[in-house]
């Protein structure tokens, strides 16, 4: 109780200090160069720390390129670690906003962290742009748009649509079978979008079956698939489940081409079994575009390795934010928000983009093919 009072008292003090000194600072700043702070929120420890490390590399490279300056502002970066834990994410967002006083945040990386952090950013009126969170409720809460929140990646259902177009237009598929996990929003979203688009384009879905997360035996369903002999087997799940289904499908003599989503993108995919399969992804380092070639060269020069999609989207998100601050010419988050929403044909590395009404980018996706030697081959780019 006592401690709570003390805490409340010190918060009030901090707040008052902020008001007094904050105002003073701004008046002085109109003459000389003003410093603004941009926060990065990413998992730098824990189970997905490589995601966070990659995003941080992209973030820092973008700021470095800008010389830590945008318009009349000097930029100071503040980095917060959410450890891929939603409680930690809420704490990190509160710290960045209330104590570091950032004007905008790049982050978080995983949807489960971005959702709670975005509630805080929205309530405090701070711009937040997530590089990689694909869940629909990051930018929209129960049908209501969180207008300070944006993202740099496409959302789950879009991938299903792209996969269907690729199947019909490039693979000339007429029939498909879909297997997905009924308990996972990600796979349900992809499967539904794939089916809608595939049927709209004149294809026929011959088999649509679900399974539960713990299932390991798919023989019954795959026997059905083998009998119907579709052109495409759509498997929109993560790499470990897909590897298991793929092996059993080949055991059943299924000749269909495998197709999937970005959940396949892992070094732990069973490349031997999945070789020849296609999946949709945010970006490929082999894409023959000028922007991509320059980016890969830049990144390799600095870090000595090729950028993955997390680094790329981290870079893109940061660049979009810098562009918006420059256009707004102001450190007022509301003005930055408006400038961000109004971005048109922004040349991001992962494709030219603009935002739709829900703060989701409208941009291309790429299709990659799994190779037996553990790499991916760039196949094509699909426009939205």
């Amino acid at each position: 109780m006592r401690r709570a009072k003390l805490l409340a008292f010190s918060l009030v003090l901090v707040f008052l200090a902020g008001v007094v000194f904050g105002c003073g600072g701004q008046q002085a700043g109109t003459q000389k160069e003003q410093t603004i702070k941009i926060g990065l929120m990413a998992p730098l420890q824990g189970n997905v720390k490589t995601f966070g490390e990659s995003v941080q590399k992209g973030f820092e490279l973008a700021l470095e390129e800008a010389g830590y300056k945008v318009g009349n502002f000097k930029i100071e970066k503040v980095i917060a670690d959410d450890r891929n834990n939603s409680t930690e994410a809420a704490n990190a967002a509160t710290k960045l906003i209330d104590s570091d006083k950032v004007v905008a945040i790049v982050g978080a990386v995983t949807s489960k962290c971005t959702v709670p952090a975005s509630e805080i950013a929205q309530a405090r009126g701070v711009v937040m742009i997530s590089p990689t969170s694909t869940a629909a409720n990051v930018t929209v809460d129960k049908g209501k748009r969180k207008d300070f929140i944006f993202r740099a990646c496409f959302i789950d259902p879009f991938q299903g649509t792209v996969a269907a177009r690729f199947a019909v237009n490039e693979l000339k598929a007429k029939t498909a079978a879909i297997l997905y996990d009924q308990g996972n929003d990600y796979t349900v979203g992809l499967a539904k979008a794939f089916k809608d688009e595939f049927e709209k384009l004149g294809g026929k879905v011959l088999v649509e079956e679900t399974y539960a997360e713990g299932d390991k035996d798919f023989s019954a369903v795959l026997t059905t698939v083998a009998q119907k002999n579709p052109d495409i087997l759509y498997l929109p799940d993560y790499y470990n489940k897909v590897s298991l289904i793929g092996q059993q499908a080949r055991d059943k003599g299924i000749k269909a081409k495998f197709l999937g989503g970005d959940g396949w993108d892992s070094a732990e995919l069973n490349f031997k079994v999945m070789a020849g399969g296609y999946f949709t992804a945010h970006y490929s380092k082999d894409e023959p575009r000028e922007a991509v070639r320059n980016w890969v060269k830049k990144f390799e020069a600095k870090y000595g390795s090729a950028p993955d999609s997390f680094a790329t989207l981290g870079y893109d998100a940061t660049k979009m934010l810098l562009k918006a601050i420059e256009t707004a010419g102001s450190a007022d988050p509301a003005k930055i928000r408006d400038a961000l929403a109004a971005l048109k044909d922004f040349p991001a590395v992962s494709g030219d983009m603009r935002f739709d009404a829900n703060g989701n980018p409208i941009k291309q996706a790429v299709v990659l093919q799994v190779q037996e030697d553990g790499t991916y081959k760039y196949i094509s780019t699909i426009q939205p």
Binding site: D217, S219, A220, E268
Partner: protein, 296 residues
């Protein structure tokens, strides 16, 4: 009715059922002798799969040797579990031993997930032989399926011989009737129980390896669902009875596969367990179980 399709599904069900049978045997043997449901059995199955994987992939052993090493490790593990977690509680109320079994199960799952043990990652198991698919009409049979059938059948014959034709088998059957009487007859009860755990665990190791060949991916929680299904199969057939475990497992396999094939893949577990409940309502001691009420 498409008979080729049906035949294909029967083979799928047989494969699944035979793997369940290997696990169910361990449950039923232990239950028959100490009246304990050894919930850690599914996790011994997991350890068996991992040791087989390490033996083959990391220690470079030939497959048959990797299987033997895995069986030996699991036998030892089973004996240790019995010694540490069950023997001190043998004459305590049954619920105490059951809780202890659940504890051992969780311990194995989470201990093995630690990074210096097996780690929490999913691992892909390379198959020891090239995949071969034979076609009989439109029915396809793989060499993996044949391997499973042959190995499980061999194990069943071996077990039958062991239980009914050897001294230790006679001791096991005696202990299963009554511990005190068996002791009076000169049977070393503790040793017999240890051997039962060793045999059951070694069978689980074989089951784990076959399972990881058929479904080539392992993780430290892989034993939970098959363990539960095999336990159900053992109860369905009549727990404590070796033929009952096999019959129950084969029925479970067929029901699951047929439900997925002809009704819906979402319903497979719902239907499988509904059948279990129905059978137990009609025959509380299982399909092959004696109908007289059990003394508790």
């Amino acid at each position: 009715m498409d008979w080729n399709y049906f035949a294909g599904q029967v083979i799928n069900g047989l494969q699944l059922g035979l793997v369940y049978a290997l696990i169910a045997l361990g449950y039923t043997m232990v239950y028959g002798i100490v009246k304990l449901i050894n919930f850690a059995h599914g996790d011994v199955f997991m350890v068996g799969a991992f040791i087989g994987y390490f033996g083959f992939v990391h220690w470079g052993l030939p497959w048959p040797l990797a299987v033997l090493v895995s069986m030996a490790v699991c036998a030892l593990l089973g004996v240790t579990i019995e010694r540490v977690a069950y023997r001190p509680l043998r004459y305590a109320p049954r619920i105490v031993a059951l809780i202890s079994a659940i504890g051992v199960s969780f311990f194995l799952e989470y201990f093995c997930s630690l990074s210096f043990v097996f780690g929490a990652d999913y691992r892909i198991v390379p198959r020891p032989m090239e995949d071969v698919v034979w076609r009989l009409g439109s029915v396809s049979v793989t060499n993996v399926q044949v391997l499973i059938m042959v190995v499980v059948m061999a194990m069943l014959v071996l077990l039958q011989w062991l239980v009914y034709r050897t001294r230790i088998g006679a001791a096991m059957r005696t202990v299963s009737y009554d511990h005190d009487t068996a002791r009076l007859m000169g049977v070393d009860v503790d040793r017999t129980i240890s051997i039962t755990f060793a045999i059951g665990s070694a069978l689980a190791a074989v089951g784990g390896i076959l399972y990881s060949i058929a479904y080539p991916q392992i993780d430290t929680f892989m034993g939970v669902i098959p363990g539960l299904k095999a336990f159900t199969a053992a109860v369905l057939g009549g727990i404590g009875l070796i033929p009952g475990a096999v019959l129950g497992a084969l029925i479970m396999g067929q029901v699951e596969v047929m439900t997925a094939a002809y009704i819906s893949s979402q319903m497979r577990d719902a239907v499988a367990f509904a059948i279990l409940i129905l059978v137990l309502l009609v025959r509380p001691s299982g399909i092959l179980g004696r109908t007289e009420p059990e003394k508790v």
